[in-house]
């Protein structure tokens, strides 16, 4: 049965470490969500992936109920992890901060494929490579 939506909120949080503090508190309390329930369930579902950023897409209904699904880690996080760098370049055109291989790009594309609009892995790989370049991370063979 369809329900009327109040909001769709995506929280990008460290796996297993959600708490009622910001950003969860202000993001969910304004919609009347039982944020403790969300926090506990999010931590339960992501506890085995500590160290990753796991987005949760929360669909909030007008009757106060909500549901959420976990999504794949953000592309930029996966690229930074693959390149072994903490952050991207502030001047990506001039300064490169790291490298990732095509194989790593493909690996990330496989992880992200469900969440990207690409029709196939090759299309997803093009998007991933573009994001890497915009972060000052080179894609090498």
């Amino acid at each position: 049965m369809a329900k009327k939506l109040k909001a769709i909120v995506t929280l990008q949080l460290p796996a297993g470490k959600a708490s009622p503090a910001p950003p969860v508190g202000p993001a969910l309390a304004q919609h009347g969500i039982n944020l403790m329930n969300f926090v506990k369930e999010y931590n339960a579902k992501t506890a085995s992936r500590i160290g990753e950023i796991i987005p949760a897409e929360i669909t909030i209904f007008t009757d106060g109920s909500f549901k959420f699904r976990l999504k794949s880690p953000p592309t930029a996080f996966l690229i930074r992890r693959a390149a072994g760098v903490d952050k991207g370049s502030s001047t990506p055109n001039r300064d490169k901060v790291g490298k990732i291989s095509r194989a790593q790009v493909k690996e990330i594309a496989e992880i992200k494929r469900e969440d990207l609009n690409a029709v196939d892995v090759e299309g997803a790989m093009l998007q991933i490579a573009g994001t890497a370049r915009s972060m000052g991370i080179e894609v090498v063979d």
Partner: protein, 311 residues
Amino acid sequence: MNSQWIEVAIEVKPEDADAVSDLLQQYGHQGVVIERAGHFIETWEDEIPPVDKLEVRAYFPADASAPDKRQQVNDALKYMLGGRQVSEPKFRVLDEQDWAEAWKAHYFPFRVGRRTYICPQWIDPNTLPDRRADDVLITLDPGMAFGTGTHPSTQLCLVAIEDLLEGRPGLQVVDLGCGSGILSIAAAKQGAVYVLGLDTDEMSVDVTLENAVVNGVGELIHAQHGSLASLLHAARRFDVALVNILSKVIIEMCGQGLGQIVRPGGVGVFGGIIMDQVGEVEEALRQTGLEPYLRRPSGEWVVIEARRPVD
């Protein structure tokens, strides 16, 4: 605890949301929020219109470092985003109280099990129309600690406490991961002669002690900062062990000797377990010398009860 936070909000096109959120991850406290600009949708679930603009938000404490962080966010946006069309970042100061109060407004008195009645502290229980003489009334200010009583796992634990303690006064109980103290209070109010509440979060210990006093069982509940290790070190054993945490933590604690805190013939109540994790948790419980004998399901959550055999 910070009393105020700075919120930074940036409107972006959907294709730029990833880049902006990645940037804000570096400055924000524990992650970022991405929401449809304008917030409220008011449409049917199966008729969601395409997104044309998103708002990315992050929060950092309004402390001495806030002006520097604000400048850093502004600078980083300017450099990293180049030609992308994003709005100027909007900053505003947010009282922590704002959202804590918003949550309270959605918290109502409710019944659990046969006679447990949970009532927020800010509501007078004498005004409850369906109050009965034999109710186990628990008044609670959950604050920022876990255990509001609305989570299915906590409710299952409350039912387990009713079943295990009824007609058996004088039991000694440990509540590992006591949170708001809701389970400790339920046990103390149903005849437990001694309840030890432990939590690794100092704030939870304070909240448990405050809630115990408010509920008139302050003398029975002894809450302190601690974990399984401190119990094992002191070789403490209990008639009932309440462990409403998470599967992963329970399994880890089983490997550290969790079963030893239950006296022979005593019972452990284990919550925070998702249905598909039941088998793994039960196996870990067996490995630590406990015999699972009951599953209490509610939705996708399960509470497992396990007994320690008499030596």
